[in-house]
């Protein structure tokens, strides 16, 4: 288990990580989500004792990383692709890593096979593509057969095939009972792989909860209605005890509405409907709302593209973000 406690990193007068506390649950995939510049990589580097925290601490099974003997047997980490000497072969790169933690040499061949690099094992890594470099980094992380794995943006720059491979690998690692901690700036990626979510923005914790709880809370489902007779429609709905709110672009929205019941009510009252459709706000949208105030480099344009704007909740965005901070 990894416990991050009040972790803070200051660069000059800029706080990169601001009193961050969370616990990574065991045996599941935990997604570490935040926009670029949120402090994800800095946090991960501090977890591995590469960067010294300004204050706060990280405990791995109760120990500081520097106190771990043969740490590759506890934690395997992929921080950046191609943290490899370009003149050294893939095999030799893994060989020195294995030697440093007394990992048997045959394990080098095993992990090379596992990531599909056996054919290029004796090639200098300088000629590797980004995807091959990423696979080599993952092989290095798996070398010590660790219980905990940490990946920083593992799918960045990978082709679709590589992305699916990484996704399945993370799921299978968790299925073997390992703890997987993976960072990303893409909610859609996390929605597919993570069981637990830690969301940060500008170095601060925004959410720390199981994935399904995050989905329940954030993916609002509603029924969208479009009609030339809004007055009659609202009447009909209120008689059925249903409240509708005005949506964007002349539509009406019913929170968690029942399609059949709304359709029946409209027919009973002879109201013409031009649209009666189930809608679900995306998690990506929820994530962007949550981090909207915590984005470091904001562009002048609105945070959401116009098509998504239409699906926005009637409440102002600030209310969402504020709500989250209180709960977390």
């Amino acid at each position: 288990m990894i416990e991050v406690n009040e972790l803070t990193k200051r660069y000059g007068d800029k706080l990169a990580v601001d009193h961050l506390s969370f616990t990574i649950p065991q045996g599941v995939v935990t997604g570490f989500l935040g926009p670029n510049g949120a402090g994800k990589s800095t946090t991960m580097r501090m977890m591995l004792d590469l960067d010294r925290p300004t204050s706060g601490s990280v405990r791995i099974d109760g120990k500081h990383y520097g106190q771990l003997r043969e740490p590759l047997k506890y934690i395997g980490a992929l921080l950046e692709a191609k943290a490899v000497h370009p003149g050294r072969t893939a095999y030799n790169h893994l060989l020195w890593l294995a030697a440093s933690n007394r990992i048997p040499t045959r394990r080098v061949d095993e992990v090379l096979a596992l990531v599909g690099l056996t054919a290029v094992a004796k090639k200098r890594s300088g000629g590797f593509s980004l995807g091959m470099g990423q696979r080599l980094g993952i092989a290095a992380a798996l070398l010590g057969d660790p219980k905990i794995l940490m990946f920083d943006e593992p799918v960045n720059g990978l082709d679709p095939e590589g992305i699916i491979w990484v996704r399945n690998l993370m799921k299978s690692l968790a299925a073997e009972g390992r703890t997987v901690f993976v960072s990303s700036h893409l909610m859609s990626e996390m929605a597919l792989t993570a069981d637990h979510l830690v969301v940060i923005g500008l170095g601060r914790l925004l959410a720390d909860m199981p994935m399904n709880e995050f989905i329940d809370r954030n993916s609002r489902s509603f029924v969208r209605l479009r009609t030339p007779q809004p007055e009659q429609l609202l009447d009909a709905l209120s008689q059925g005890g249903i409240a509708a709110l005005q949506g964007a672009d002349g539509t009406w929205e019913v929170e968690n509405g029942d399609l059949a019941r709304i359709g029946d009510l409209a027919a009973e009252h002879r109201v013409t409907l031009h649209e009666l459709s189930p809608q679900r706000a995306s998690l990506e949208e929820a994530f962007m709302r949550m981090t909207a105030e915590a984005v470091e480099y904001q562009t002048g344009a609105p945070a959401l593209p116009p098509e998504q704007e239409q699906e926005q909740k009637p409440e102002p965005a600030a209310a969402w973000g504020a709500g989250w901070k209180k709960e977390s």
């Binding site: 591995l48 004792d49 590469l50 740490p71 943290a83 490899v84 020195w96 440093s100 290095a140």
Partner: protein, 252 residues
Amino acid sequence: MVPVLLSEWIKVRTVRSTFVTLLLTFVVTVGLGAVVSAVVASTWNNQTPTERANFDATGVSFSGIALGQLALIVFAVLVVTSEYSTGMIRATLGAVPQRMTLMLAKVLTVLGLVGVVSVLTAFISFFLGQALLGSHRTSITDPGVTRAVFGMAIYMTLLALLSVGVAFMVRRPIPALAILMPFFFLISPILNAVPKVKNVAHFFPDVAGRQLYSVQGSTDVPYGPTAGFFIVLAWSLGCVVIGYLLFARRDA
């Protein structure tokens, strides 16, 4: 400690730059020493009596080190800075978070490898140089000669240590070389030509080293081979200690 040493040894032997720089150190030092020895032998009759009086056959055969040490510096600097320029330092510290152990393993690896190369370079430079000096040669059994030959090997080894220390301070290859190369190749010889300043420059590691590997040291320099050894040692240890203090404190 042993696993970390083994790991550092694997790192050093699995990149081409190790082989290239150490071979260059050997070839340049031995080769240039041989050329200078041959030239001195053939121009003996044109030399002034003072030059003849100050003639040190051992020192002449080691003339190649002036250039050869540059390749040695490059080797030692690259062992450290390639970790930073490739980002590999993250993998290294991930595997060995105990920074003292890591740096010690790196230092010992460099010392071991450079030690072997230095002894070979020193003896081969000496014997080849003496052979080319002809009738002006000295013998390994003459007083002070064995000391000077080993002194040469020790100087080279300590120079590598000093470079490792500076590399840990500076971390990037180009700045590290930009500090070390002129220091050994330009600054010290230039300062040595300036009166007064010369007294300070006498305590630079290359001058101290020359006292260590000459039989008959420079009469300008106010100390002998033993003091020369300690001066070089102090420079090297000083650089390694400062390098460690920075390495231990900084973000990787």
